[in-house]
Symmetry: C3
Subunit: 109 residues, 3 copies
């Protein structure tokens, strides 16, 4: 048994969950926040038999996509106190970050 | 050291946490949502010594119970456009889904 | 690859995340609740290469600190029905509780 922990963008979460459920998988959704951009994202827990992990990774690959996000830093970068030229920063936010953990014991109660 | 991750129904979460705390266990609660029914549920994190895992599984077994839930599908199943017979679907929601993970390193800071 | 799961007090979460991000780490924040005090706290997920785990534990040690919390029990302890002497209880809440889990497979999608 494995536990797949996938951090995905909110825009893709609904589509990913539907695809997982349609394929017979079970998933639990947690609301989370990215440490860098401080924006809401989604952390999914997907417990599954080891043999189905590749299938789940494929579903994630097919439903989640990387997006560029423009971020305006909170304070101006460099320059004297009275010249406020703010340069927005481009950040590439991945479709998904996936961790597969081994499960020592699994119980359905 | 092990980390027990238990997904339980909100109705049983309070009772389960009280029983764990009374028995000297420590637990952290996360609000979660089921991927299929899209209803709120609870994900508990319980870090514990390996020897106490069976005791924790027993506590879960004694406080969490399976319930049948009637779900009305969003759209009518089959039939022509103007005959709207909607059949509620019965879904058995388990008392708990429990994953036990091995902890390589544990620190109290 | 390892997954560091750290449960910290809300007061320290912002400072900890900034320190992790400044050091080039990635972190995902989950809002959680302590099972005993029923107060909000923060659960952080930090995926990292094994070699960087000690560095992360140090950052946690340097930014999170234990605090004493006074808790007034909900009902008076002992005594007859009409004498309400309530004794607040001191609880030491640790700076952080840290679990390091092994990651079998890691994907960036
Ligand atoms: N310390 C840092 N220095 C410079 N740039 C940084 C950085 N931390 C993050 N970024 C950049 O900002 C994007 C959003 O990160 P955030 O932490 O908000 O949101 C992250 C975070 O919530 C989660 N995540 C990614 N890797 C993680 C890991 N190793 N551990 C825990 N969470 C992770 O997935 C979201 C998307 O991450 P992704 O890597 O695709 O995209 C990241 C990356 O391009
Ligand atoms: N392997 C796993 N990995 C991650 N989380 C897991 C999991 N197994 C269970 N869960 C979590 O526990 C809740 C109850 O699942 P259970 O299997 O008892 O009860 C399930 C099951 O009877 C049914 N169900 C779930 N997914 C299904 C699917 N893909 N196809 C058919 N029935 C499904 O609907 C009930 C409620 O499911 P829901 O997703 O709303 O809520 C699930 C989900 O949040
Ligand atoms: N092994 C573990 N597994 C999962 N989560 C863990 C954990 N150890 C700690 N935590 C999390 O970290 C918070 C602080 O725990 P700490 O042990 O420092 O500080 C604790 C401890 O001093 C005390 N405490 C907790 N559970 C107790 C119990 N069953 N009996 C007596 N005292 C307890 O109350 C403080 C606050 O506890 P609270 O539960 O509200 O909040 C806990 C809980 O959310």
């Amino acid at each position: 048994m494995k536990l797949v922990l996938a951090i995905v963008q909110d825009k893709d979460a609904g589509k990913l969950i539907r695809a997982l459920v349609d394929a017979g998988h079970r998933a639990t959704k947690l609301a989370s926040t990215g440490g860098f951009l401080k924006e809401g994202n989604t952390t999914l827990l997907i417990g599954t038999e080891s043999s189905r992990v590749p299938e789940i990774v494929d579903i994630i690959r097919n439903t989640c996509r990387a997006r560029e996000q423009l971020v305006t830093p909170v304070s101006p970068v460099g320059g004297p106190a009275d010249s406020y030229t703010v340069y927005p920063v481009r950040v590439l936010v991945g479709g998904a970050t996936v961790f597969v953990l081994d499960v020592e014991r699994f119980e359905r109660i």
